[in-house]
């Protein structure tokens, strides 16, 4: 049987360097474009859009009915409640759990992971692209609401004195970003580690993280204690839960949060790069 001449293995006409995978950033950018598509504008995001965007309409209600419905809390204190209680303690971690555990699980569950793993790109750029899409999505939903809530609440008596509160706004926006990155990294790791990360994720958020109010060293084993210490709002909490609240030094918080992000993402990348995805027929 005559031997069929093989196609020469020389570099293809378009000059791509086929001896090395596609550069990291370019690959991550392509994964980002692909992942962003179904993440923001999809029926599954409807609930997260409501959850992350809700404080803005709430602030509007507060502002327009301030005379008819005299509030118990001052405008700036309500802004503090929104940032500390609503966002950093509850809504942002929940959004992180919702999106970050799905980064890889979605593709595996939908069996579309094969398309990504049969491209000339490193697996770590797949994870990076998807993590960036997660961040873009959640920040696009949360940050505008934070800014709108701030202005709706602090300009009730006009713009005087707003200037002095602006450092608070920028610090809070920074903490919102840090919260989403930290919890995002943690739940990305959980999503890659466990087959069913939802219940463990919820138990972590609403049982383990209660340690943040415990005395002594216990709060340092949670994520929320560091993030809460970074914001300067102290909304008085119901009952005596806040009685033992301690504020960790800012430097320690930034180091801890930075360390956690690096460790979680590195672990997730390493696991994802070495795992085989045997899609059951």
């Amino acid at each position: 049987m005559s031997a069929i001449p093989a196609v020469p293995a020389a570099a293809p006409a378009d000059g791509r360097d086929v001896s090395r995978p596609v550069p990291f950033l370019r690959a991550a950018r392509a994964v980002f474009d692909l992942s962003l598509e179904g993440m923001v504008w999809s029926r599954r995001s409807l609930l997260m859009i409501l959850l992350l965007g809700l404080p803005a309409p709430l602030a509007l209600v507060f502002r327009t009915f301030i005379t008819r419905l005299p509030p118990r809390v001052g405008a700036f204190d309500f802004y503090g409640v929104v940032i500390a209680f609503y966002y950093v303690r509850n809504a942002l971690p929940l959004a992180a759990l919702f999106y970050a555990t799905a980064l890889i699980a979605d593709e595996v569950e939908g069996k579309t992971i094969t398309y990504l793993l049969t491209r000339p790109i490193q697996r770590v750029s797949v994870l990076a692209g998807k993590f960036a899409a997660y961040l873009a999505t959640t920040l696009a939903l949360a940050l505008p609401a934070v800014v709108l809530t701030f202005f709706l609440l602090t300009t009730i008596r006009g713009w005087t004195g707003v200037g002095a509160l602006v450092p608070d706004l920028f610090r809070d926006m920074g903490v919102v970003v840090l919260t989403l990155v930290t919890y995002g990294a943690f739940f990305t790791l959980m999503g890659v580690l466990l087959r069913r990360p939802v219940i463990p994720g919820l138990l972590f958020l609403f049982v383990w993280e209660l340690l943040a109010n415990a005395p002594g060293y216990l709060p340092r084993f949670t994520i929320t204690a560091y993030l809460r210490s970074l914001i300067h709002h102290r909304p008085p909490d119901e009952g005596l839960a806040e009685i033992f609240a301690q504020v960790l030094p800012t430097a320690l918080c930034l180091e801890a949060v930075g360390g956690m992000i690096v460790v979680f993402l590195a672990a997730a990348a390493w696991i994802f790069s070495n795992r085989e995805y045997v899609l059951d027929q």
Binding site: M1, A3, I4, P5, A6, V7, A9, P12, D14, R16, V18, S19, R20, P21, V22, P23, R26, A27, A30, V31, D33, L34, E37, G38, S42, G110, K111, T112, T114, Y115, L116, L117, T118, R119, P120, I121, Q122, R123, E276, Y277, V278, L279, Q281
Partner: protein, 306 residues
């Protein structure tokens, strides 16, 4: 023949189950059929080549590099996975564009290649429809398109024709043959034998994780002399034909068809039989002659029965 895929004592097991058992083989350019019943180890064999699984033992190399952990291979390797799974929200064109960008092309090049691939699988008019609304055949074709859009040198196709109607089936078979003629290495896995037979004569029979046989179907068949060859002939006077051939020593048995036109002969030495039957065939008015067990199915049945 330069080997594109090389398996050197490659084994793979999932817990107690051995999917691939100490396989050493090579696959070169042209179309090679990977055949075997369900659960024979075909998918594992293919996934090892596609770098989706690491061999538990031994080595699997593609274009000279280890298949597992070498993503750069996919510049020159195209994979058409078996599951019918897509990002349903994307249109056919967006699907190809996204995957081509992941292969490192710039936008203009992506657009050109996407349109070219759509043309090859005749999906140009459905390019802007969501994949969620595609028929089964169209989904299979768009999956083929993504595996060859980046002009790969190696193509690994996992059950490319499963669930396809005859028209689309014909189109894919021709496409695969064309790719093989262009010198690409095409490994087609299937458990439907006549599908593969339509594309190539070179096969790799796999069963219970082992390679039963590899090479051209007819060569394999000839090597199996413990199974007599069957030849079916249709003649005007079948009885005369029978009288002429029954005397030869290599004829083992003779059967007459129900309608009285067909004679089926079992012979140990098919070549001698073909040369000795010519004169008798002219006198008996033979109009048709073929060998029913020369095909893959029977070859496979005989091999498995060993």
């Amino acid at each position: 023949m330069t080997a594109t895929l090389e398996y050197v004592r490659a084994s793979r097991w999932y817990g107690p189950v051995i999917a691939l058992n100490d396989v050493t083989t090579t696959v070169g350019p042209g179309v090679t059929g990977l055949l075997g019943p369900n659960g024979a180890g075909k998918s594992t064999f293919l996934k090892l080549a596609a770098g989706q699984l690491a061999p538990s033992q031994g080595e699997v190399r593609v274009l000279g590099r280890p298949a597992w952990g070498s993503p750069e291979l996919f510049h020159r390797v195209g994979v058409c996975p078996e599951p019918d799974a897509f990002w349903e929200g994307l249109t056919g064109f967006q699907f190809l564009m996204a995957l081509l960008r992941l292969t490192g092309f710039d936008d203009a090049e992506c657009r050109r290649r996407a349109e070219q691939a759509l043309e090859q699988v005749a999906l140009t008019e459905a390019r802007d429809r969501k994949i969620g609304g595609y028929s089964k055949g169209m989904r299979q074709r768009i999956k083929m398109a993504q595996s060859l859009a980046h002009d790969p040198q190696v193509l690994l196709l996992d059950e490319p024709l499963s669930g396809m109607d005859p028209v689309n089936r014909r189109r894919i078979v021709d496409l695969v043959k064309k790719l093989g003629r262009e010198g690409r290495t095409v490994l087609v896995s299937s458990h439907i034998l006549h599908e593969v037979e339509a594309m190539t004569r070179r096969v790799l029979l796999i069963h219970n994780g082992r390679i039963l046989a590899e090479g051209d179907v007819r060569e394999i068949r000839d090597l199996m002399d413990e199974h007599p060859h069957t030849v079916a002939l249709r003649a005007r006077d079948p009885r005369a034909l029978a009288r002429a051939v029954v005397g030869s020593t290599h004829v083992l048995s003779l059967t007459f068809g129900a309608e009285g036109e067909w004679v089926t002969v079992q012979t140990a030495r098919p070549d001698e039989f073909y040369s000795s039957v010519v004169d008798a065939a002219v006198e008996a008015g033979v109009s048709e002659m073929y060998s029913p067990d020369e095909n893959l199915e029977s070859v496979f049945k005989y091999l498995v029965a060993r």
